[in-house]
Amino acid sequence: MSGDAAAVVAAVEAVAERIQAERSHLTDLDSAIGDADHGGNMARGWAEAADAVADLEDPDAQTVVKTAGKTVLSEVGGASGPLYGGSLVFASQELEDGVTPETAVAFAETYLEKVQDRGDASVGDQTMVDALTPAVHTFKKSIETDDLPPLEALAKAVAAAEAGVQFTVPIRASKGRASYLGWRSVGHQDPGATSTLYIMEELLETAADHLDSEVPDVDASSPTIPDAEAAGE
């Protein structure tokens, strides 16, 4: 197995463990605004995904991502299956030549685009898009404009996702189950944005392990602000 494929397998396993560990927290967040199944469904789906990628024989990175996505898609079901899993399957196309800073940016952009299209959601709807958008924009700029090392770019992306999760708290939901609460959704942290942040944090940890480095300390005093204008590009 190539090095990047092994790292992706490790990342899927790390995500499965993390989601399992946060299962009741995610369910608590969801029960406040939805149908209280996000933690359970995601934990089950990612556990199955970790098993599925562990069973692959000498896969490339693209196959690992596609397999994980397909498993999440069919095991999580509902709307989360297509959003988390379906988007992975679709974005896996960008990893045909393995994982490089360039293909990782393309992957992230395609994933975001797919989530937005599928969920018909934009920044400010109190959804996972609020965490993903700043993360993907920050990652792209850090790699393409600022020429940062990939790990630092990823660390900045995670910090941006964290800011995005906080951004979901004081706004009103206009997509997803929480939107039926209307104004009562204000003050709730979006479970989808939260699980998206967990996934990104595990990607960062795994990438650091893979590159045998420490997770870089990014400057949290100048957080990246979600940019609603740019989201519509």
């Binding site: 898609l73 079901g77 509902g78 299956g81 379906g86």
Partner: protein, 373 residues
């Protein structure tokens, strides 16, 4: 429309409506006290285990209908001869509990296959993917999707996957429910009983040998011309919960209900069959805004727990109202086409038809749920 509580119950009971929906006071009270005593009791059902109900139903269907088969390790039914050489495939799917929708419409002149989700839950994308794969003869497949978030997202995801492998898929999203704009399960209107007319028209067009664009065009034509509204006399009982999914008092009904027991638009006191029919029909016709003399197909659809006798009572009034509006009924369907488990209630569908749609709806179909000769 009557707002709740606007008419005292006693007034209504003294009215001259001789309706199956109006219970004499004493009977209503008796029913009420009975219902109190059976609260918390598990409903009696012909179900072995709620986890197995869809699986066992599908096996029972293939045992009853040898012209369809089940794809291994899935909840997908297809025509036994799928994919049919040289023909565009027409498929659908959605949560179970709406039988004969959708598997019951598999056969000549209608669907090539259908994916069944768990009760009231969308099939997953891999089930839809298996369905699309099994029904593509190379001419492409039309996916008829009811507008529910889960159905739409999982179908769309499946479509992207098979398109990567070279299968042509066209879609039509049915959103005929005039009752609500957004609901618990949808953005936009829900897809309900009008879907059966889409199955019929698209299936007939595909059977003629038309290409995918043409099949999609006639399906969309039905969607653009159909409206439905439903109501419930009782809630339904899902296998998993084993009790009513919502609480509807014995002397109230729910208008604008969906097919999952999700809330409707308005809860009112019990009305007569004619009054209910009028509420539903007027809502649908208001929405469709048809010209005088327009020919229509009507459907009185039972929700699963209502006897045909009552559906015909509704149809009698429906046809009177159609005439009052200067419309002409070209065909009137009455029966259980898209149900909601054991819910008592009905929906009314009206679809404006032109020569092309009439020809397609009149074309032969041979399926368990609908036969046209």
């Amino acid at each position: 429309m009557l707002p709740p509580d606007s008419a005292p119950r006693t007034d209504m009971r003294r009215s001259n409506h001789r309706s199956v929906f109006v219970l004499p006071d004493i009977l209503a009270q008796l029913t009420f006290s009975l219902s109190q005593t059976i609260v918390n009791m598990v409903m009696k059902k012909l179900i072995n285990d709620s986890d197995d109900v869809v699986d066992e139903m599908l096996d029972g269907m293939t045992a009853a209908y040898p012209d369809m088969r089940r794809l291994p390790d899935t909840q997908v039914l297809v025509r036994d001869d799928a994919p049919v050489d040289g023909k565009v495939g027409v498929v659908s799917g959605g949560g179970s509990g709406h039988e004969p929708t959708h598997g019951g419409y598999i056969g000549d002149g209608m669907l090539d296959g259908a994916a069944a989700g768990d009760v009231f839950s969308s099939p997953t994308a891999d089930e839809f993917e298996a369905l699309l794969d099994a029904t593509d003869s190379g001419e492409g497949v039309l996916a008829v999707i009811k507008n529910y978030e889960g159905d739409v997202m999982n179908f769309e995801t499946a479509i992207e996957m098979v398109e990567m492998e070279g299968t042509d898929v066209a879609t039509v999203v049915v959103n005929d429910d005039v009752a609500v704009e957004d609901s618990l399960y949808t953005s936009g209107r829900r897809g309900v009983c009008g879907t059966i007319l889409v199955h019929k028209a698209a299936g007939a067009k595909a059977a003629e040998g038309a290409d995918l664009d043409e099949v999609q065009r006639v399906a969309q034509k039905v969607v653009d011309n159909v409206g439905t509204m439903g109501m419930a006399l009782t809630s339904c009982v899902t296998p998993e919960k084993g009790e009513a999914t919502f609480d509807l008092p014995d002397d109230e009904i729910e208008l604008g209900i969906g097919i999952h027991g999700e809330p409707g638009t308005e809860r009112t006191d019990v009305m007569s069959a004619d009054e209910i029919t009028e509420e539903l029909t007027e809502s649908v016709l208001d929405d469709l805004d048809l010209d005088e003399g327009q020919e229509v197909v009507t459907i009185v659809n039972g929700m699963g727990g209502t006897p045909l006798m009552e559906l015909f009572v509704v149809n009698r009034k429906l046809q009177e109202l159609i005439g009052d509006h200067g419309l002409e009924t070209w065909d009137a369907w009455v029966g259980d086409y898209m149900t909601s488990l054991d819910m008592e209630g009905a929906s009314i569908t009206v679809c404006a038809v032109d020569e092309e749609l009439k020809e397609l709806l009149d074309a032969p179909a041979d399926t368990p749920g609908l036969t046209v000769q």
